[in-house]
Amino acid sequence: MSSLRRFLAFILTFPVLVAFAFLTGCGGGSSSASNNTIVSSGNNVASISVNSGPTGNYANGGFVSITVCVPGTSSCQTVDDVLVDTGSSGLRILSSFSPGLPQQEASGDPVFECFPFESGYTWGPVQTADVEIAGEKASSVPVQLVGTNTAVPDGCLDFGLPSSNTLDSLGANGIFGVGLFAQDCGEYCVQVQTGNPNLYYQCASSPCQAIGESLAQQVPNPVTLFATDNNGVIIELPGVSGGEPSLSGSLVFGIGTQSNNALGAATVYTADSSGSFTTTYSGTPYSGSFIDSGSNGYFFPSTTIAECSDSSDAPGFYCPSTTENLSASNQGVNGSSGTVNFSVADASTLFDSNDYVFNDLGGPASGYFDWGLPFFYGRNVFTGIQSDSYPNGYWAY
């Protein structure tokens, strides 16, 4: 922890230049973050906290506590600071938190997984746990334990992604993937791929060998295995003006299953088979766009907004000289559409403050619009898991 504090001190050695734009509550017939009602009680409600996380330097990370148990026993471990991620499916926790979970096997050999996120891959064994959060429980859930002495196979390294297998590189004690899909991978992983890299492996001896993994064996979205409240989640966070040190809200399980999780007047935007919809920004439609609580900013292409320099403390983010007030429109596969107003400020200035919650953090992306956690501030966002009615799931807000 002390070395992380020193890292934090390093990034705070620049002058504090707070220049937050005041965001007025203007809507103009479009979706604007303001005055959402946040449910705080119920057996389906978990507290979510946006703060600097277990490494003390995470910007816009929403964390929950989750308990994993050896199936059918009271041998449990509560894991704090697990990142809530609507952009993926499946529970992944650092292996140091394992209460000694049973190993999933294929042909008698342990099953491992290499799971790619855009910022890095997680590598480790697939084990089985009872998963508990708030008053919800899912039994015998395949989960990924992250971090292992077993060598990473070449096929995993072929993804070309950095390692996210330690607390420092993950920035969280785990990832709680509560996204659109029932399984983490889907059809791609059922058969062994030739040419393109694989996700699932069996590790009898080194090196591990790629395997096909049936949908039933894949790491699932744990929400789908709750007895009730199993069709989706709502993230409810208050609005933010500029920056704040931390923020509290709720992760609500189920949509329309209890009196506290009705869809209400929210507009449903359905996703395509890859879990994306279309966002039109600056006249260009981007069909691979998505809403993702696990991304820590608005990430989108721009030819006009200045990127932070590599020598700044915010490489890979936008650093406009004055805060940009922007808008974009979302369109679901079902045809519903709406405009969203948002702002992007100088990330380097933001990071020079003592804040970790920013409603105006953004950065470049190529060919898509990623609505990260700032989109959730002041707006209840529903993530509907795939079903007969919604084969690829949906977002609603």
Binding site: P116, E118, G179, S366, Y368
Partner: protein, 165 residues
Amino acid sequence: MSKRRAGPIQSGLLILGAALAVAANAVPARAALGGDVTSVQADQLHVQGSLRTTVTSSYTVHQIQAATGTVVREYVSSSGKSAGKVFGIAWQGPWPPDIRQLLGSYFEQYVQAANVQGATRVGRRPLVIEQPGLVVQIGGHPRAFAGRAYVPEMLPTGVRTEDVQ
């Protein structure tokens, strides 16, 4: 800062990348980015994909589509000092493709830069590597990844970086 750098896994990756870069130099046909047009055929065979070619005034786009839905576009210059060479690659698919194969001799340079970025900043966001001799962007989410890579000095005259996508 140094404490946030490579652990054993990352060091292994770098050594592996270096070994592959040597291999790629010995067998140019396996290198896609910076390689000649025959490397496109190697990539097509590698993923067992179908090939479609589009010709513009300054470059040819070879689009390889695998049965899994992964699409790779390789941009081959038609003129100038990089004529006949792959100057850019763009891809999209449910999961990232074999970046080692597609970047060829540039893989080691990319991995070093990506690991520095991965180790120095916490928080999930796209990978953006911008160096004088190599630009790589990787982003998206599980089941929908996209990325591109190009060598700025190899871009044919009049071609914009946005054309590689």
